[in-house]
Amino acid sequence: MRSNMAVLETESPRLLAAVRGLLAAKGIAGPAEIAERIAATDAASPALGAAMVARAWTEPEFRALMLADGTRAAEAMDIPMRGLPPLGVLENTPDLHHLVVCTLCSCYPRAVLGYPPFWFKSAAYRARAVRDPRGLLRDFGTTLPAEVKLRVVDSTADYRWMVLPLRPAGTEFWPAERLAALVHEGDMIGVTVPKVA
């Protein structure tokens, strides 16, 4: 039953070529489709997530859609989501702050944030995020007031999670483009919060 464990010992380039060949032969995904997916993955960056956040801050209807169905909100901004795990969005409020981790591996909302930062995959981050999250936030320069509740979201299964951070004070009349420039990768993981420079 577990005889296919042997594939784990196969040299990676040979294994990749075999898998690509099988995907094409079985009509699951051809070379063009795979190339398209690699291009979309390479093109994704935190700027996409930041644009979603800025739009949520300025358009209540988009905010409601984003919180209800992150995948549809991303698609509404022409971000390719087909075939990808569902995107969940965690809303920070004045009373609640979210921190995302994947303790089992490195699940990350790549479609909207691009490749994860190197530390997101580290054993130290993954262990500390659930064991000492406030201490971890302090190391990122983020001091959470005692009255703000911290919720750690361990991304263990089929969803990918991003944080919708709190809009900083003093940005009331800013257009979405200027707001988006305030939002960085760590703000959408929850290790930092957007700040007006």
């Binding site: 969940g88 509740k149 919720r151 979201v153 361990d154």
Partner: protein, 93 residues
Amino acid sequence: MLAPGTAVRVRDDWPETRGPCHIRTPWYLRGHRGTVVRHLGDYPNPEDLAFSLPAATLALYHVRFPLAAIWPDAVGTDDLVVELYETWLEVAP
């Protein structure tokens, strides 16, 4: 289907001691009590998918655990929310 607010316990089971397996339930939660936040949808069981075996569709839940219930030195009301499949949850009395 487990309703939001249902008290559950993560099964104190260790399949990794019985041979090769693929598990999406973290070690640090086995045997701990939590509360169902909501049903996230139904997905094929990754424990079977990983070995290209026929996979039953399972309910996936967001389950909340107070950090203070998991770690002996944790204080305050901070908590943790984790995706867990129905087969790992038992309704806690």
